[in-house]
């Protein structure tokens, strides 16, 4: 029972992890992208259409290759979600619009587009594709214990953790990370140091959105094994909250997302009533508020959000 709970928690946490790692990369550049829920929806749309066209290109469902379907799904999800990031950056960097408004608009747009485009899609073969997506190294039904927790996960789970670790290292230890942090902390300084603020913001938002898009793909294809009936946006907001919860550290997001997922999943494993269940589901949000309060009261400078978060930058501003 416990191992099943842990396995499904880690699986579920992947959804948050993609969203929050993507958003962390974006926020490190000073872009507060509140469009993440919408962008995860865009990722889901892209993934679904990618898988659809892959299935259509095959003669029969039995020809479907696990590797190819995951790869096609990921590429399409990334491109589609990055397009959302592109729109965001175009508005905030090139046109210098307000980031909050742009972000919220993209969320509204993405969520609506999600229900529009996925209501028409042909679902034949999605269940089979979903089975391939969620396939682990070992079969979850026949194993138990730590082996089940560690090795029955699907490819996208491992990829999420790898992306989180790589992102953390890149941000902290490489020159591109240093430049990115400088752009998010003080764009005027970065600019005076010869770093192109616009380029970094565009790229960080594009890549961050693409990674968040994997979350959408994962949710539909892997977690729900091809079921397209459910929306992602509520989980998208949790991913944004998770960024604050993990104080802008992608490696901490691995643990943070598991905690969030555990709080979200626990009610199904506990024998409690409806009210209690909903209260427990609220906990991630409450914990996030508490983290905000604690970091702002006792916070050292190093655990604060990027100083220029949410601001637009224009060099010749007077």
């Amino acid at each position: 029972m416990f191992w099943t709970f842990l396995t499904s928690t880690i699986k579920f946490s992947t959804l948050f992890l993609y969203g929050s790692v993507g958003e962390t990369i974006t926020e490190k550049s000073g872009h507060l992208n509140l469009g993440i829920p919408g962008i995860m929806c865009l990722g889901a749309i892209g993934g679904c259409y990618g898988v659809r066209s892959y299935i259509d290109s095959l003669g029969s469902l039995s020809q479907m290759s696990g590797f190819a379907v995951v790869l096609v799904g990921m590429i399409c999800a990334f491109l589609f979600a990055a397009l959302g990031g592109m729109i965001f950056s175009f508005f905030t960097v090139t046109l210098r619009c307000n980031q909050n408004i742009t972000g919220l608009t993209i969320t509204t747009f993405g969520v609506a587009l999600n229900s529009l485009m996925l209501s028409k899609i042909d679902k034949t073969g999605f269940y089979e594709a979903g089975r391939l997506f969620s396939k682990g190294i070992v079969d979850a039904n026949t194993t138990d214990g730590l082996v089940k927790v560690l090795f029955s996960q699907s490819a996208l789970v491992y990829i999420a953790i790898a992306i989180a670790i790589i992102t953390a290292i890149v941000i902290k230890r490489t020159r591109v990370g240093l430049n990115l942090r400088a752009v998010g902390e003080n764009p005027a300084t970065a600019d005076a140091a010869g770093i192109s603020v616009g380029k970094y913001r565009y790229l960080a938002t594009l890549i961050g959105s693409g990674i968040a898009g994997f979350g959408g793909l994962f949710f539909i294809m892997d977690y729900l094994t091809g079921n397209i009936e459910y929306g992602i946006d509520t989980y998208g907001w949790l991913a944004v909250a998770l960024v604050i919860f993990t104080i802008w550290k992608p490696n901490w997001a691995i643990l943070g997302s598991i905690i969030f997922a555990a709080l979200y999943r626990a009610p199904s494993y506990l024998n409690i009533g409806f009210t209690e269940r909903e209260v427990i589901k609220m906990l991630p949000y409450i914990v996030t508020v508490l983290v905000l309060i604690i970091t702002s009261i006792f916070g050292r400078k190093s655990v604060q959000p990027p100083a220029a978060l949410g601001t637009t930058y224009f060099r010749e501003e007077r």
């Binding site: 020159r175 003080n186 007077r318």
Partner: protein
Amino acid sequence: MTYKQYQIGGNSVEKTVAIELRGITKTFGDVVANKNVDLDVYEGEILSILGENGSGKTTLMNMIAGIYFPDAGHIYINGEEVVIKSPKDAFAHKIGMIHQHFKLVDTFSAADNIILGEKCPKFDLKEEKAKLVEAHRAENEAYENYDEAEHPGPLAYMAKPKFHPEKETKRKLALMPLVGIGRRIKFNWLAKKRADVVQDIANRFGFKIDLKKKIYDMSVSEKQTVEIIKVLYRGADILILDEPTAVLTPQEIDKLFDVLRNMKAAGKSIIIITHKLNEVMAISDRVAVLRKGEHIATVNTSETNEQELTEMMVGKKVSLNIDRAEPHDVKNRLVVSGLSAVDADGVKVLDDISFEARSGEILGIAGIAGSGQRQLLEAIAGLYKVKDGTITYFDPAKDDAPVDLRSKTPVQIRDLGVRLSFVPEDRLGMGLVGNMDLIDNMMLRSYRKGFMFLDRKSPKKLAETIVEELEVVTPSTHTAVRKLSGGNVQKVLVGREIAASPSVLMAAYPVRGLDINSSYTIYNLLNEQKEKGVAVIFVGEDLDVLIELCDRILVICAGKVTGVVDGRRAIKEQIGLLMTKTAGDVDENQMSIDDLHDTNNDEGGEAL
């Protein structure tokens, strides 16, 4: 001190021109910031750029540093025409600028700030491949020739060279293009020892500073040092400093000037923007004067004087002396005693401060920036929480009846009939609302008047009076205050505060960033108020002005009063010493100040 002589137009001393500006013009909307400016900077000289506010000094320098792009004109560096489109281009031409507002990332260490944006060596695939093959070949050879007998001992195997099989070399060569791509998108590792490398260079330049410290832990002068090291580290030959002394103590200024002289001796060209004439005279070889965006003249410092420079700058004769009337009818108006306050972190920002402000007197407050001046004035104005002590106001309308002001809100203070005016340091934050026009800003003081609807007539009249009397340069009274230049913003603010006919007028750095002409307008306004019997409290940073303007000067250091000196007898060094005095040795320093008086001042000063 001796200065090199240059003959302009003649050829007594041959000097290489480092940078040449020809016909530079820049406009912002309707405002012409620079108009047809020609300027030469030589190698190994210090050039001062002098000019009033809004004369386009900073704009001109920003164009050299790549922050702004000129609308017209040419820039030549070492005789060749260049186009500087961004700060990156400026680096490429070895131009470094230290901005008035430091461009540092607070949460980074000083070392990281210095290496930020630094150019990485180019990755040449062919060369790197050859290097790898060579390195492996050398190591393999060493392996072949290694004689174990020569290296006895239990840990000998550790010293043994490595052997690279051909397979390994091939694999590494195949991976090389990937490494190249990584380098191109700047995935280079930041070395753990990067701070030490930068530290070494700083030490070699002769700077004493810990570069591992985070910027937010640093003092203003330390931050400035980091900026200078940053520019030097980038290998700049042309150094631009925008008002570098504005935030430094006299001692720190001397240190900075020593650094600048050393750099000049090393052949670097230094351009320094400053308002302070005495600094121009002390440090520069030549002075370029700008007025209203135009280049008026460039003169040798040794052939000019302060009076002449001022006239060039403002275009008309200005008296550099402040008329200081003898105070009359002096009465205690505001008495502060034992005032203490703590900031959000529980650190004491005001520590047992006692003083009295008297009617018909200007009380100066001197101190290094951030010594508690802001908190002191805000505490009096009812904006900062007081922990201990009393603030008593003696109401002239009620026969000097005492009124307790401690822990009252500004509205309560006003309702008590206390006529207190406050010109805060942060003009567009606390004083005025940038996006509102002049009239609306006047209304910030009178919005409670009128029945149901706001009274807009009298504020309009007031705004018009201020514009007229204080010569505020503005298109109309409906212009957003944000769009005015610093000096005009200040005139509007001071004008409004004076219009409330205060009995206590507090002004924090009212001339910060203002040119000489505007500054003197402000000084005269303060003097007028003093003669009307107002108790004026003036927080200043220029000690010369404090000494000339104030009747008494209160010196504070780290939230403590370190002395009160008579403005007529004070000397700069004495105040400078009081400003930097550390807590605990007050008495000891008091003695040394008396000594100073004996040697420097025939009349001898007295600490009041």
